[in-house]
């Protein structure tokens, strides 16, 4: 992300036409000199006003066109493609087997309930909807968790994952000036933008091993150990984005050990709770492991994927502190960051979540729908694997497709191979080799298998 600070050359002095002296209906000369100089121009619209004003060059004339977002730009390109076999495996939004967007039944029910009740639209408190904050913390840590019993968690509703990460990043910048955030190589593309804009320095720890298409665990541990004490370590709670590669439970224990040794602070990004394995509790086990050790930690949550609430922007930042008194102070400072950013968060998504989690019937329905979504993804993984291995004659190990978890898979295809996927096969994906399984249907697995095999073998 590069928005460099552009400074203008000296603003040209402007010549103002004295409104009392100039007859605006008189057409003027049309000389135009190039940038940075005055020019006087008349246009029909000006002559209609009772006042002429010297036209100057735009104050923003030096501005460059920013590049399109690398992830969101993929969907734009897909939409423009007219090929009948085109496949969008770019953005991580869940699709049904018919490749349609999916609004959960339980969400529709909640929205109908909300409308029937005729609730008002008053401002939420800065920290968000209390019922939502309670529900989201319980969902994450478990109702019985000691961190909740002891009221040691500061929970503030945020604008989905991004907004929650941003609140935390701003908190880090203010209260831990100079502290670094360690992010995995690779990680979600927007992470570095968030820390850059918040003014928080970051560096990478090894994560993805292209040789195994798996986790470079030794590299990860070594880099976390090497970082200055008191660094923040950004961890994906489950379903790592973009690789789909998660540490095993044993590996999580070692990660926690190292973080404790170095007095680092764990910072979890949990965007797929329930979506990865199909079980809410299982997907929260990494976070709970750390919390149960009595560690202080930060956790950003998103309900975009697991409740399909993408555009409602609903999430939360949780800060687990060593005491409830500290948690209260931290919460007050998170509020102080939110107020000059957007004042208070949007109600609609928060109410949906609170209603779903708060009603035993809806909650159970949600778990079923989530199991279906996660199940469909697991089944296309299996189908893709089966398809590739039945066609592919070499001894290459494709089992990473089955071992990886969640919406995304790192195929191991390089940039040129990924580009071939798009240019030859009309399969849209990001250049890092990431595909979104959520955008794959069982019916298209064979076609995708052909595309992958071709790109892998015939392009370098």
């Amino acid at each position: 992300m590069a928005s460099s600070l552009l400074s203008f050359g000296s603003a040209s002095p402007l010549t103002l036409l004295d409104p009392l002296k100039v007859n605006p209906r008189v057409g003027g000369s049309n000389q135009a000199t190039f940038l940075g100089k005055n020019f006087i121009k008349t246009k029909k619209s000006f002559t209609r006003t009772s006042m002429a004003v010297a036209v100057e060059v735009s104050k923003f004339n030096e501005l460059t066109m920013a590049p399109p977002d690398p992830i969101l730009g993929v969907s734009e390109a897909f939409r423009a493609d007219t090929h009948e076999m085109k496949l969008n495996l770019g953005v991580g939004a869940y699709r049904t087997e018919d490749l349609q967007p999916y609004v959960l039944d339980v969400v529709k029910k909640a929205e109908n309930l909300m409308l029937e009740r005729g609730e008002n639209k008053e401002y939420l408190p800065i920290e968000g909807l209390a019922a939502f904050n309670k529900a989201t913390a319980e969902l994450l840590f478990g109702v019985e968790s000691s961190v909740l019993q002891q009221q040691r968690v500061a929970t503030v509703q945020g604008l989905s994952g991004t907004g929650s990460l941003r609140l935390a990043a701003e908190l880090i910048e203010r209260y831990f000036p100079g502290a670094k955030v360690l992010i995995s190589a690779p990680t979600w593309g927007n992470h570095k933008n968030i820390f850059n804009d918040a003014g928080v320095p970051w560096s990478e720890y090894r994560y993805y091993d292209p040789k195994t298409v798996g986790l470079d665990f030794d590299g990860m541990i070594s880099d976390i150990k090497a970082a200055p004490a008191g660094s923040f370590v950004l961890l994906h709670g489950c379903a790592h984005n973009p690789t789909g590669i998660d540490p095993t439970p044993e590996q999580w224990e070692v990660i926690a050990d190292v973080i404790q040794e170095k007095n680092h602070i764990p910072f979890f990004d949990v965007a797929y709770q329930g979506f990865a394995s199909g079980s809410l509790d299982e997907d929260a086990s990494s976070v709970r492991l750390f919390a149960d050790r009595g560690m202080e930690l930060l956790v950003a949550q998103s309900y975009s994927k697991n409740l399909g609430l993408y555009s409602e922007r609903i999430g939360a930042i949780n800060v687990v502190c060593s005491s409830s008194e500290v948690a209260q102070r931290v919460k007050s400072q998170l509020k102080r960051i939110a107020r000059p950013m957007y004042s208070n968060p949007p109600i609609h998504g928060a109410r949906i979540v609170a209603n779903v989690v708060g009603s035993p019937d809806l909650f159970n329905e949600w778990k079923e729908e989530m199991a279906l979504m996660a199940g469909r993804i697991k089944s296309v993984r299996q189908k893709l694997y089966d398809s590739i291995t039945s066609k592919e004659k070499t001894s290459k190990d494709w089992s990473f497709i089955l071992k990886q978890i969640g919406m995304f898979s790192f195929t191991g295809l390089n940039k040129a191979q990924s580009e071939n996927m798009t240019s030859k096969w009309h399969v849209y994906m990001t250049k890092d080799g990431r595909i979104s399984l959520a955008g794959l249907s069982a019916a298209k697995c064979d076609y995708l298998a052909d595309a992958i095999i071709d790109s892998y073998h015939n392009v370098s």
């Binding site: 600070l5 104050k59 066109m65 929205e111 408190p125 800065i126 991004t162 409830s324 000059p340 109600i347």
Partner: protein
């Protein structure tokens, strides 16, 4: 500034990492008062963080405006009155969801084809186009020339913040002039975005009106190109607006000095009851072909407070500049919240694009504005009939949701303590929180405060 890995100074002083660790060590050796009192520390004996890493985080004070409601909620008195936050209340003292909003919501929920996919970074396209038309006028040449870029943001606050962040990165002048007084959150928004904040004279306590000469002097002595925050109508907190002639003089001066206008439009239609009338100040500036920014909020005029719906428009010299500006606005938004919330924007778009619903909205909006105007009249009459000393005509001259009573903080505290009336310490009352039933109580309180308290 933001961007890159430079650390920039934080608004509040923080100890260095070394200081922090030394402090933690000292506390650890001395024994923190927390240890004895807090059972949870004993419960986590293996915790590496017996002294919290967040221990140096101090408690932030309650937000002054929202804190009024917190205090009000705690008060058990049956006659208590909340005139703090600017949220509209009915004659019965209840929050109001407009009928046309309910209708739009029902349509949205019933529409089976609707999905919840991510909006583009700049938000809902229809909403953006319709919002620009609403504020600039459907026939605006700036819109026809494609010189306007509009991005959906989180109500007024979000629009102001995104605009300010953009200016801090891409505009050569990093000072913004805000009126004295102004909404309390303005200075924080601009400060955090990286702009230096200065003030220009605005309110004249002697007349309880506009200090026009002071305003012209201060803007006249601002450096060329400086950014100037202007309340489009219904100035918050004073309710004092320039006249049309005064606006024209402000416009001339600002164009002479190449000052960049940044309008905050939070009350379009709510101030006078007429949407076009309340947009005249902005349209005057846009008509002359110059550039400006406009932050729009639908919190009050559509009663969509908690949905956080608003828009930032930038009127540029050319379509090419507008398109480049839009691309850079996206870079501000993506690392802040990625893309905006769909619900409120969909409600607004539904209403604005349907002629019948638009007219229904205008009727409901006018009713809200009229009720406030009638509260002003009733309060003014009540004070006159009590013979309360002083000139209270500003109550009916000021416009919009708020009245700057002119009461000082001692008098305010008195009213809260003795009469259970909650308002901000600057003497600002929200007329929207009054009803015919409660006006007498308020008039009594003001009368007492003026005659008894300093």
């Amino acid at each position: 500034m933001h961007g890159g890995n430079d650390s920039h100074s934080s608004p509040s002083p923080s100890p260095s990492p070394a200081d922090r660790r030394i402090n933690a060590l000292v506390r650890h050796l001395q024994g923190s008062p927390l240890d004895a009192a807090d059972p949870c520390l004993a419960a986590a004996p293996t915790s590496a963080a017996q002294i919290s890493v967040f221990d140096h985080v101090v408690r932030a004070p309650e937000d002054p405006i929202l804190g009024v409601t917190v205090a009000y909620n705690k008060d058990p008195s049956p006659v208590k009155l909340n005139l703090g936050v600017g949220a509209y209340r009915t004659e019965e003292g209840k929050p109001l969801v407009l009928n046309v909003v309910r209708k739009a919501e029902q349509m949205l929920v019933n529409d089976r084809s609707r999905v919840k996919e991510y909006l583009p970074i700049v938000g809902l396209a229809d909403f953006n186009k319709l919002s620009a038309k609403l504020i600039l006028g459907a026939d605006s040449p700036a819109i026809q020339d494609n010189r306007v870029t509009t991005v959906q943001c989180l109500s007024g606050t979000g629009s102001l913040r995104v605009g300010a962040e953009f200016l801090a990165r891409h505009y050569h002048q990093h000072t913004i002039y805000i009126p004295q007084p102004t909404w309390g959150n303005h200075v924080k928004i601009f400060g955090l975005a990286g702009l230096a904040v200065k003030t220009y004279r605005y309110y004249d306590p002697a007349t309880r009106g506009l200090n026009f000469r002071g305003l012209l002097e201060d803007l006249g002595s601002a450096p060329s190109g400086a950014i100037v925050l202007l309340h489009a109508c219904a100035h918050n907190p004073t309710g004092v607006d320039p006249t049309a002639q005064e606006w024209e003089q402000i416009r001339q001066l600002m164009r002479l000095k190449a000052l960049l206008p940044f309008f905050d439009s939070a009350y379009q239609g709510f101030a006078s009851g007429n949407l076009d009338a309340d947009a005249q100040s902005i349209r005057m500036f846009v008509r002359d072909g110059g550039e400006c920014l406009v932050a729009q909020s639908y919190a009050k005029n559509m009663g969509l407070y908690g949905e956080r719906v608003g828009a930032l428009s930038m009127v540029c010299r050319s379509a090419d500049v507008a398109s480049r500006v839009e691309s850079q606005l996206k870079l501000v938004i993506r690392p802040m919240y990625s893309n905006p919330p769909i619900h409120g924007a969909s409600i607004v778009a539904t209403i604005l694009k349907d002629r019948a619903m638009f007219q229904e909205w205008e009727v409901e909006l006018k009713a809200m504005a009229d009720r406030i105007i009638s509260m002003r009249k009733q309060l003014f009459d009540a004070l006159r009939s009590r013979g309360t000393p002083g000139d209270w005509s500003h109550i009916i001259k000021q416009i919009g949701m708020f009245t700057f009573t002119g009461l000082n903080s001692t008098q305010v505290a008195f009213m809260t303590k003795e009469y259970h009336i909650y308002l901000t310490s600057d003497g600002r009352i929200s007329m929207a929180g009054l009803s015919s039933r409660t006006v007498p109580h308020l008039a009594d309180a003001i009368h007492a405060a003026v005659t008894k308290a300093a």
